[in-house]
């Protein structure tokens, strides 16, 4: 049988490698062969070295770099061999076992044969991969299925059938090569080998990988990792995958890398804390209840019935519904909760629908009450865990464990997120995410996060001036523009979605209450205290150090200002907790103040006179408790409500002042009382 072989090499500035490649061929390939070299207009001495090597080659020199695929196709036109052996110039034939490579290629069902590639460090190069797809990327990067997308090394002494191989050293029958019309010349470089394998598989041929035949491959030296090569790689990838598929795969990989870097690393290092935190949360989730969870999902569930404008729907239909209150949150909140209600429909089913419309005694005997409470709180668990991860990343590495303990095992966090079960944890997480991106100087992402937070609940809007001031201080105009683009994009999204209807239903919210506490200045000038102090905070921020820690303090101060002056709504305390956790992690002595805030919180929930906030929170376990227990009434017979209210407020305000004043002073750009400062001003 005629075993004539055409060895095809395309060179481009390979003067360092080509001679050793040619010598290894001359030394080890004993079957009848020819060597065809196509040089893509090398600017180094590749050609002169080949010519002076005395090795018999057919050398074709191109007047320009025509690309790898085109050059190979040109070489094939010159080839006389029955088999084509495409070799990269940075390869070396190690021994004579290579001569056996042609033994299998004669089989009718075989299309390509590839030897094992050995890298310079003597490790085997992962040169085999499944034909890459979007689904493969998801399997490999998100579902942890090995070898679904990336290159790998098959483990077997026998020839292994694979889906694709790296084109650094591949053998193919000339007949088959011509049948598939050679390398696709739309690929200048990269991906032409994958495309070739794809076509070979489409024709029904097998691609065999032989681990007992080895070729040395100096990986990367033929192309390098210079920006031009990376750009060529991207261009070819876009052509191979298609534009949208390429970006979809890139995002799958990128998200996985980010998750790995910022999430799984933390979980790996502090797995036991995470599991304990998850266990506690899962255990309590089905047994705590507040009516807010039900009312919010009563509205959100309307999305599953096809209602898009919930404000309008409630206005028109409230008299026919079991629950008459209107939805008072921005539209994005409706869509977020509604999407979860939609997704969980198969799990919750009709009993959930019945429960939502049941405001009588039988709501406690709903057969799936515990399932409902568990499932509805699952998204909150997700964002709660992410908050922990972000807090851990925002503090120094040595304090991460402490940060996780402070966040995950805080009774207030558990009570507010899983007891009151409002969706505040989602915008709270997004606000924290915004600060995280701010720290990383990813300002578009920071703006997007804050904007998304605003589109769920309006409170992060209060922080916008602090972010802007911090960026102005940095004199980072580009960053500021990116940040604002991010915020505006998200806020516009909300504005487009029935914003007028939303405004019409939420007139009695926080914004209105901000104007109520006033201070009377000389000339009967009335200024709302909140805005006075809020402006002072902005001024403080302007004169503070330009760090994310300083911004963190002002975020915390703003939220606590809202709680002190506007309304101490129990779930609103959650907004501040991640930012306080960051500070308390760094200064353990603040744990005492943390305890005092906890005590004032207990007072506040008592004076709030919502029985579901106190004893009623365990109503899934004790359904009669709501009917019989009134802790507040009992308490108020012994201690006047006003006294409790004043005490709670005093404890809270004094405590937060003992935290905030030192923090703000610490972050100021100058020392208060510094004589230099005084002199410079005068």
């Amino acid at each position: 049988m005629n075993k004539d072989l055409s060895i095809i090499i395309v060179t481009y500035n390979n003067s360092e490698d080509i001679i050793s490649c040619l010598k290894s061929i001359e030394k080890n390939i004993i079957i009848q062969h020819e060597i065809i070299i196509v040089d893509s207009n090398s600017s180094d001495d590749t050609i002169s070295k080949i010519k002076s090597s005395q090795i018999k080659v057919l050398l074709f020199s191109q007047s320009e770099n025509i690309g790898f695929a085109k050059a190979n196709n040109f070489a094939v036109k010159q080839a006389k061999g029955k088999y084509l052996f495409f070799l990269n110039p940075d390869t070396e034939i190690i021994d004579r076992s290579i001569n056996e490579i042609t033994n299998l290629i004669d089989r009718d069902d075989v299309g390509i044969i590839a030897p094992q590639l050995i890298m310079l460090n003597d490790k085997v190069q992962p040169s085999v991969r499944r034909l890459p797809t979007f689904l493969g990327a998801i399997k490999e990067y998100w579902l942890g299925q090995k070898n679904a997308y990336d290159s790998y090394v098959p483990i077997s002494d026998q020839p292994v059938e694979v889906e694709s191989v790296v084109g650094a050293a591949i053998l193919i029958k000339k007949k088959t090569f011509l049948q598939i019309k050679g390398f696709d010349e739309k690929f200048f470089m990269y991906f032409e080998d994958l495309d070739l394998c794809h076509k070979i598989k489409e024709l029904g041929y097998k691609i065999l990988y032989l681990s007992n035949i080895q070729v040395k491959h100096k990986v990367g030296s033929s192309a390098g990792t210079n920006p031009k090569s990376i750009e060529l790689f991207k261009q070819s990838a876009k052509k191979y995958y298609g534009f949208f598929n390429y970006y979809a795969i890139q995002n799958v990989i990128r998200i996985s890398q980010i998750a790995d870097k910022y999430f799984f690393q933390i979980i790996k290092n502090f797995g036991s804390i995470f599991l304990l935190a998850i266990a506690i949360r899962l255990i309590i989730m089905p047994f705590l209840f507040h009516t807010d969870l039900k009312t919010q999902y009563f509205h959100a569930n309307l999305l599953t019935k096809g209602v898009v404008n919930v404000y309008e729907y409630m206005k028109v239909n409230k008299d026919n519904l079991g629950f008459k209150d209107t939805f008072v949150y921005p539209t994005m909140a409706y869509f977020t909760l509604g999407s979860w209600a939609y997704v969980t429909q198969p799990i919750l089913g009709q009993p959930f629908q019945n429960w939502l419309y049941d405001w009588g005694e039988s709501r406690w005997t709903n057969p799936q009450l515990f399932r409902q409470l568990f499932v509805l709180k699952l998204p909150y668990l997700f964002f709660d865990l992410l908050c922990g991860v972000l807090i851990a990343y925002l503090v120094e590495e040595s304090l991460r464990k402490r940060a996780l303990v402070v966040w995950f095992f805080n009774p207030l966090t558990l009570y507010i997120i899983y007891g009151l079960a409002n969706f505040d944890i989602i915008p709270t997480f997004l606000t924290l995410f915004s600060l995280f991106f701010f720290q990383k100087n990813k300002l578009l992402a920071s703006g997007l996060s804050l904007g998304l937070g605003i589109s769920l609940k309006l409170f992060p809007l209060l922080l916008l001036p602090f972010f802007v001031l911090s960026l102005l201080k940095k004199e980072n105009k580009r960053g500021l523009i990116l940040f604002l683009i991010g915020v505006i994009m998200m806020v516009l999204l909300t504005l487009c979605l029935f914003f007028q209807d939303f405004l019409a239903t939420s007139g009695s919210g926080m914004a209105t209450q901000m104007l109520i506490p006033i201070v009377i200045l000389p000339f009967n000038l009335k200024i709302p205290i909140f805005y006075l102090l809020y402006s002072s905070l902005l001024l403080g921020c302007l004169f503070s150090k330009n760090t994310w820690e300083s911004l963190n303090v002002y975020i915390l101060a703003t939220f606590w200002l809202v709680l002190s002056l506007i309304n101490f709504h129990p779930q609103w305390l959650l907004w501040s907790l991640p930012f306080f956790a960051i500070i308390i992690t760094k200064e353990s002595k603040l744990l005492i103040q943390g305890g005092l805030i906890f005590i004032s919180f207990i007072f506040f929930i008592l004076i709030f006179e919502d029985r579901f906030l106190t004893l009623g929170i365990l109503s899934p376990i004790f359904p009669n408790i709501y009917d019989v227990a009134n802790l507040e009434q009992t308490l108020f017979t012994y201690i006047p409500k006003t006294f409790l209210e004043i005490t709670a407020r005093l404890i809270f305000i004094i405590t937060i002042l003992t935290i905030l004043i030192p923090q703000i002073l610490m972050h100021l750009n100058f020392k208060v009382g510094d004589p230099k400062l005084f002199r410079s001003k005068t």
Binding site: G271, S272, I273, L275, L276, I278, A279, I280, L282, I283, I284, P286, W364, T365, P367, Q368, L369, F370, R371, F374, K401, R402, V405, V406, F409, N410, P411, L414, Y415, S588, L591, F598, T614, L615, I617, L618, I621, F622, P623, N624, I625, D627, V628, A629, L631
Partner: protein, 200 residues
Amino acid sequence: MYKLLLLMLAFIILFFLSIFLLDIFYLSHRVSNVSQEEAKKTTLIYQGQEQRISFISRFDNVNLIYVRLKNPERKNTDDFYFQIKDQSNNILRQIDISGRNISDDDWIRFQFLPIKNIKDQKLNLSLNSATLDQNKAILVFTDNSDQLVYKVYSTDSWINVLRRELVNFYQRFTTDSLFVVSYIIINISIIIGYLILKKV
């Protein structure tokens, strides 16, 4: 760090346990006994027009009865009589209040010393007023068959209440067996995972 973790876990347990124990405390003082809460219409109470209802007490120690009354425009300021009688019409408890204490539609609470050894026995509740003027009469809510709207509570030992409430909770919780099984498996897996990681 371990100390901090233990401290915070202790706080969590203490916090939720306090609520749990307070719930039991309250429940033991107000065990829901019998009730009729369907309010469809009102009936007048004035001198000579007493309103009565009889009920069989499910528990001992009846100590609290709520009645839904209405004093339109709070015009009535006369005495109002609340009586609990046994089967032989002996007055067991009596509370006299002023009409001033009755607002325009409210659940009025009558609390008294627990009536002992009354389980499964019939009690008569009667409501009367010193008012002669029908225009100023107190109104009591009833259902369509003229049964008064009321709620009766008893006291019980906390251990009895705890047992009863937990049995009731267990029955409701285990109704959804699919969820219970999944819930237990998930939690046990996580706890085992935690113990393994802790050991490593």
